[in-house]
Subunit: 261 residues, 2 copies
């Protein structure tokens, strides 16, 4: 289970940086974005870093001939646009998958000042690393797993991300991607995505019906994803490493709406 832990000696700093970043986001009004709208467009400097609230988005690379690759998926609580904040002409598009709301931190004035705080800089680094690990896992999955494995990996990854954010509790969640978008994410065609999903449904491993994912056989799903019942590697004790997501969540869940990294 790809559960990333931060070094224990950094935990305090990270938690504090997280709080400071959250506070900065909270100062900005929630702006609504409609489904399908673009948040960041290629070749145009982006003006802000965003906190995604209550909706999904994706990052994609598009080619003139219509090919498209979705290289990351954002769920509520994610920070969007860090990787393009320093760049004058981003290569990727970021667009809304559902209607959503954003809170912004201005890239020019506010962000550099925030990065001047050591703890914020650390936390932003942490977020960037987290994203990079996600993209790395995606690249590895596409490179070395067949369609079934890729789907299993994607469904598990989303499940775990939502769960860690405490956005779901049971073995199901809503995943607002069309089969075309799933294909663009996993390097498949929508036709083949459809066939594999049917196979998973018929074997009672996962059910996807109108964007509602229901995991029916977690063990087999994990084994399809290449996690051969790995005994989850002995969790590092409290002294050696903290589960960053949960720990940070605990620190931040002061009962307000923002929370969650």
């Amino acid at each position: 289970m790809p559960r990333t832990t931060c070094r224990a000696d950094l935990y305090e700093d990270l938690a504090q940086g997280k709080l400071a970043l959250r506070a900065a986001f909270r100062r900005s009004p929630e702006q609504p974005v409609e489904a399908g709208a673009r948040i960041i467009t290629p070749n145009a400097a982006s003006e802000a870093v965003y906190l995604l609230g209550g909706g999904w988005a994706y990052r994609a690379r598009e080619w003139p001939d219509g090919r498209r690759a979705i290289t990351d998926i954002y769920v509520p609580g994610d920070v969007i646009g860090l990787e393009t904040a320093l760049v004058s002409r981003p290569e990727d598009t970021v667009a809304a998958l559902t209607p959503l709301t954003l809170q912004a931190i201005d890239t020019r004035a506010a962000l550099p000042r925030l990065l001047g705080q050591r703890t914020v800089a650390l936390f932003v680094n942490w977020l960037l690393c987290e994203q990079q690990r996600r993209v790395g896992r995606l690249a590895a999955a596409i490179a070395r797993f067949d369609a079934e494995g890729r789907l299993a990996i994607m469904l598990l990854e989303l499940y775990e991300r939502l769960r860690r954010r405490e956005l779901i509790t049971a073995l199901g969640y809503t995943m607002p991607l069309t089969q075309q978008q799933i294909g663009d994410h996993l390097g498949l065609t929508l036709v083949h995505v459809n066939r594999v999903l049917r196979s998973l449904r018929e074997r009672r491993i996962v059910n996807i019906d109108r964007h509602v994912v229901t995991i029916r056989d977690m063990a087999r799903l994990q084994s399809l994803a290449g996690r051969g019942k790995a005994p989850a590697a002995p969790r590092a004790g409290a002294a050696a490493g903290l589960s960053a997501e949960t720990a940070l969540l605990a620190a931040a869940s002061a009962g307000d709406g923002l929370t969650r990294e």
Copy 2:
């Protein structure tokens, strides 16, 4: 051409951060590493961030059944280990592709202090973003290009990286990857890599002989890589954006050995 430019108003800060980071690396002795040795191993906290001097390395994810995916390639001048510095148990391996030398910055003591400098934090962020863009491009290439396109993309990307670092001048370079490793990088088998390379050679597009890459028809290679003779998008003028790599290089190439970001 994936030439990343930084926002003009950040150039000064980035350049200064780069110099500070360079200085910190230079304080450490060059330690040699032999080909094939591991620099970072999964599930073991890494102790340092490294500057790679005079050799190549790669980052890979490995599965118990022997599958492997190489998710990034490091060339001389690259910084290694930033993405695992904050993490107690990295998921990836980093290993030497050739004999090489490293200079280290201690993760526990020195790095947090360096990140306390605003410009260094900015520059580290920049490096992380650069890496993330590379991985994103790789994922997109594997997802949406056939074997020939992937090879073209890889060969061009390496060519441009080396060129920007001024490590090569003509249309050729040495690429110390075996065909097995190329396959692991692009999600192919070594057999198929071999066949595609032969095809490219026979059509006089690229020649690879004992790890020496020679580009013989740049235009066709670019078109295979999906860059349909795109007129390189009007370069932003000096006022709007600076070519970060070259500009930073210019600032840093004080003629010493370290240089090059």
